[in-house]
């Protein structure tokens, strides 16, 4: 039996499940009372941040394989959704799911060789993949003499429905990811992922098919990242390769997850909410300096809580029980 290290396998007591359900119901009811477009958009953005950080967490948080290329799947999802909707007249929800499927179709062949790499090599390979995808979309039309991705001209989508629509869409995606993370964490797969993190060779020796497990996690992560990319494309109404394949998307996912705590269920939730909530009031007041302030805050938090906010709190809890 694989013993999970303390602080990592965080079992949710019944009370916590009830609390999570209560939060979910409250969030469903919020738009009925709050008609303010900005507040709903902001919450939608927080949900999106949590969902993205969760995608990264499922793969990199649990296995410790630092994926620096999720922006590729975000962009693939955005472009698949845009092209399906604009060219094919496919309905939105079907488009985002198909976008996710396209991402998985890329993730499996990309994962097969790259997931055999370890440490910095894996990070560099995924980063290169994301950059290559961006460049391919940018140059496709000119090189092949076609009119498909429209290169740097980007694609215009129809103006989307109300904020409530996007609020609920992201709420659902975020909740689904939360539940998946919860289920993965306590499944055989979850233990295997953590085992890969702790001692991959040992895990392999005792019969864990590590490559298969990593591919599963990578594909799940890619699927949902692409779905989120598709929703975001519809929300923004206009996409270009430089915007949806941007390395900033990757960096945001990594930082949110690190701040909250890698490999924890609540880490992405706390990290994404914390980062959005501190930056919102800051940029309005210090338009020129807020990026520096946020940088200092991130450093302070990481120094005070090296395992992320949730990770460190869990450690303290274990500490105080033990001593």
């Amino acid at each position: 039996m694989i013993q999970t290290p303390p602080g990592r396998a965080f079992t949710l007591p019944r009370k916590a499940v009830l609390l999570a359900a209560a939060v979910f119901v409250t969030l469903i009811l919020v738009p009925a009372f709050c008609h303010q477009g900005y507040a709903l958009r902001l919450m939608g953005m927080i949900f999106m941040g949590i969902a993205l950080a969760s995608c990264w967490n499922i793969m990199s948080g649990y296995t410790g394989y630092i994926d620096f290329g999720p922006a590729a799947y975000f962009g693939i999802g955005a472009y698949a959704t845009a092209l399906l909707m604009v060219r094919g007249g496919v309905p939105f929800f079907l488009s985002i799911v198909l976008g996710g499927v396209v991402a998985v179709a890329f993730a499996v062949p990309v994962g097969l060789p790259t997931l055999r790499l370890r440490g910095a090599y894996f990070a560099i390979a995924t980063f290169a993949f994301a950059e290559a995808t961006r460049q391919a979309v940018l140059e496709w039309d000119r090189v092949l003499g076609v009119n498909f991705f429209q290169g740097s001209h980007g694609i215009t989508l129809p103006i989307g429905p109300t904020h409530q629509f996007f609020y609920y869409t992201f709420l659902v995606i975020m909740t689904v990811l939360f539940v998946i993370t919860y289920l993965v964490e306590r499944s055989r797969m979850g233990y295997a992922l953590k085992a890969i993190h702790e001692a991959e060779d040992a895990a392999e020796l005792i019969g864990v098919n590590t490559l298969k497990i990593k591919i599963y996690a990578y594909a799940i992560s890619a699927f949902f990242t692409a779905v989120i990319g598709g929703v975001d494309a519809y929300w923004l109404t206009y996409i270009t390769p430089n915007d949806v394949f941007s390395v900033h998307i990757t960096i945001k996912m990594v930082i949110m997850c690190l701040l909250g705590g890698m490999g924890t269920l609540l880490g992405p939730v706390v990290g994404a909410s914390f980062l959005t909530l501190i930056s919102e009031p800051l940029w309005a007041r210090f338009p020129y300096d807020y990026l520096i302030i946020i940088g200092v805050i991130i450093v302070l938090v990481i120094v005070a809580m090296p395992k992320g906010i949730v990770g460190t709190l869990l450690e303290w809890k274990v500490d105080s029980r033990g001593t």
């Binding site: 940018l138 980007g154 923004l236 270009t240 020129y288």
Partner: protein, 413 residues
Amino acid sequence: MTRMKRVTAILTIVGLLAGFVVVPAARCADKIQFGFSVPLTGIFGKAGKLVLDSYKLWAKKMNAEGGILIKGKRYPVELVYYDDKSDPGVSAKLVEKLITDDKVDLLLGGYGSSLVFAASAIAEKYKYPMISGGASSNKLFDRGFRYYFATLGKATEEVRGCVEMLKGLKPKPKTVAIVGSDILFTSLACEGFKKYSKEAGFKVIHFELFPIQLQDYTSMLLKVKKENPDVLLVGSHTLVAIKTVKALKAIDFSPKAVAFSYGPTVPDFVKSVGKLGEYVFAASEWTPVLPYKGPVFGTAAAFDKLYYKTFHRHPDYVEAAVAAAAVTQQLALQQLGLQPPYTEAKREALMKKLHDIDIKTFYGEVRFGKDGANVAHPPIAVQIQHGKVVTVYPKNVRQTAPIYPMPSWGHRK
């Protein structure tokens, strides 16, 4: 970990969160709040600051007069703005914040095509007119929007003046090479260069778009040098123009003429490249020497003078277009006699008025086509001569004749 450390850590986080509770700005009914999102950081940060200065100058000018005079009452101008970090998602969010949270009366346009794309979609959704002076990509006008306008011409149109000027030169150039960075605005400029070059009877012997992140331009330009074109046309932003000029010198490549879609008119250009920038041409839509005149700022020259007095630098045509956008909305309000608060019905009336407007300003004539683009504005061409931007086309308004062919690097002082 000790108890003390934990307490410190928790206090840090709680303190950080609690320290920044948002306090809504107090509203005053007797003024008009204009909101906009503008890039102050990121790839458009430099240009975004110019846009901000331009709006500040307009607000200062209006407030010095006591505000905008509407139906006998003066309403001071207040600007509410945020940095969109050159990120379209943030830009959309901010415009939504301005409309629904800050509840500004009206909007002003931002800078950068992809940012304005996202921002104008929100403005259209909430029915707020948005006149931009800092975005001109053709696609912005293909969306069937009714609330979006621009004082600049379309990106492909902007470079027409440059090509027409080249056509009139003696000896007439025969071959052109076109290169540009692969982002929306500059690639459109390249397409404009191509279209008008063909119309002018030039042979396009090289066409290449390169990634905006490209660091070293020498190998890309060596390819062009090999083909030996008479003219090099560059779809550029300021930084692209600066890098191109430096690389041309480095590989000792001097075509008979070099023309940029954007860059040399920005003061930073001459500051960064110094003498290397001599003789280059650039597309423009406005210079202070043009015989334009109108309310608010007076003549083109008077606008330039006031700008210089306030910021100690001369305005570029984008800054003029931005101020003209603010002026246009203001004149429409005044002509309609529309006083705040601006309800949806009033904003719709303003939008309809803007579709019919035909005014003369320091920036030239402003008249919007059905798609919102300014159709009354002729493109011009400028050249750097003795470190100064001078107007060389069209002939009837030019300050001096263009210097052509450009002396080769070896024959310069």
